[in-house]
Symmetry: C2
Subunit: 333 residues, 2 copies
């Protein structure tokens, strides 16, 4: 568990896109996003106050989060000096970069000296159990996609925000690096050893109040041959009561797999539901989330209307329209 | 890759069942099983010559394989002395026990001193790639089960033996500890990190001659919530041309999951085939393997006749009847 709130380290990000982890934290956990820390040449700007380490300390910041991705996922010299200063000032660090903070001896030594923590959120922090399949109390919703990177995390976060606004009892449950950095907790599922994948998701979504919803971040796709095993473990470990189908309708082929085309929403529905009912016979598909970023407003609305009529399920783009209708559907079951 | 042939170390096995890894090597790779090595009190006997280390060296043995499982999966004092002697005599060691050979500093030091290898087959030896889903040459057959431990490995090994007898071009591909020790090579799939599972199976079953069959050892079950992700990765990483359905018809519930019952063979067929066709649209279900060890001969034959009529697929117990009809079915596609 990463201590909050955060100072968002943007380094020398060449543009706003490079700072998308930091942007996600600001968008979804603005209460954690106390300020930003930029190096000379940084072209990203979250519109947060630029804080010195001293300012951040005074405002109660606990952790400096590396909110920027760079080519190669390594921590360059210019960053290291700033991060060493942050450690010396008593802050924890958190990173989702490929190269671990703990792989840099100077950072490790400094953290030991100053008694601070280095969180590498790509590395599982605990030994997860093997899944036992026992029915848990509370309710769970999982987003499943026709492909990878179609908006599953965004959908779950938008649903959580809507539910909190309605004073419903809901928790986004992160299963990837960005989600973990946003919320400060979660399971880096793609780095978990095969035998413990489903168990890690049981651990992430334990018994809860009868009216509580876990909104589990989806990963991969049952139809993406590189990562389908991870998706399968989410479906069985999460034992969802509700599934949301996610699609990005303009993809010419599956992400990274030129010879594979995405399944229809009908095929996704039938396949995912059949498998989900192994773990939870009451599971239902309750709605559809479409990522329409590559469609015009008119085409997006027409496409969603067509899908909604065809599938008989509320169909929205949470980015354009919010997740209210998906939450209505959850409340209905 | 473990060097062959082997001396099979049985330790102080309390009975034959404890030596089932060694028994598997003798049954399926008798050419690797040069002799056995037993400590005082050993109650297992494979019917192989009891060899001293000197005898084994003279007969060309390269590796001493720990062919016995013990409670807790640790290497006791009495074993350690014998294993240290084997290392000093220049042999490699191979083990599938939970506690790694490489976790014992005395064994590690001895191996360094004598220039021999310690193979822990539960630990992935290489960094596997992420699966790319590219169609490979050659053919692949995968056994999928209604549950775990229903005879998938046995089925694949029996098919390989039958195919070799017919001078067909076939390779058993091990995906678990026992299979790896039997053949000297393979992927310990349950220990592979999630993102690389399917890629490890692509690596295990590469491009091959057009008439070559990989007989891939199955793991878990799509219907076993603890391990279904592993099975999914086998189906997509293996891109099988042929599936064999495996069942053990007397189980009251899924192995280790008292609240879960096994699916019907029809459900297994439809679910596995639908998912397999994502990676290989030509995939077919070609036969059924039933583990009838808990049925009388008469009941076993009646059960298999009923399944064969119902499913319209050749149905055998390879242990009772051999795998000839399953291989006939493979040859037919």
């Amino acid at each position: 568990m990463i201590k909050t709130p955060y100072l968002l380290f943007l380094g020398d990000a060449p543009d706003g896109l490079a700072a998308k982890v930091a942007q996600g934290i600001k968008d979804w956990r603005s209460e954690f996003a106390i300020g930003q820390y930029r190096l000379p040449g940084c072209k990203a700007d979250l519109g947060l106050p630029d804080l010195t380490l001293e300012d951040a300390r005074a405002k109660g910041v606990e952790t400096v989060v590396i909110g920027v991705a760079n080519r190669g996922g390594i921590i360059g010299e210019s960053w290291r000096a700033a991060l060493l200063e942050a450690i010396a000032a008593g802050f924890d660090l958190a990173s989702g970069l490929h190269t671990r903070l703990n792989a840099y001896p100077d950072l490790v030594r400094a953290a030991q000296t100053h008694g601070t923590a280095l969180h590498d959120v790509r590395v599982p922090g605990i030994d997860y159990p093997i899944a036992n399949g026992v029915k848990r109390s509370g309710k769970r919703c999982l987003a499943v996609g026709t492909d990878c990177s179609v908006g599953k995390m965004y959908t779950a976060l938008a649903m959580e925000a809507e539910m909190r606004q309605r004073n419903l009892n809901a928790s986004f449950r992160a299963t990837g690096q960005t989600g973990i950095l946003i919320t400060g907790d979660g399971v880096p599922l793609d780095a978990v050893v095969a035998d413990f994948m489903a168990g890690s998701i049981e651990h992430l979504t334990p018994d809860n109040d009868p009216d509580h919803w876990d909104l589990i971040e989806g990963q991969g796709s049952l139809f993406h041959v590189s990562y389908s095993g991870v998706t399968m473990a989410l479906i069985h470990g999460g034992q969802p009561d509700a599934l949301i189908l996610c699609d990005e309708p303009t993809r010419p082929h599956m992400r990274g797999l030129p010879d594979y085309t995405a399944p229809s929403l009908e095929t996704l529905r039938d396949t995912a539901l059949g498998l989900a009912r192994v773990a939870n016979p009451a599971c239902k598909v309750v709605g559809i989330s479409i990522n329409t970023q590559h469609l015009s407003e008119a085409n997006a609305l027409a496409h969603m209307a067509e899908v909604e009529a065809r599938m008989g399920l509320p169909t929205v783009d949470p980015f354009r329209q919010g997740a209210a209708r998906l939450v209505d559907a959850l409340e209905g079951i």
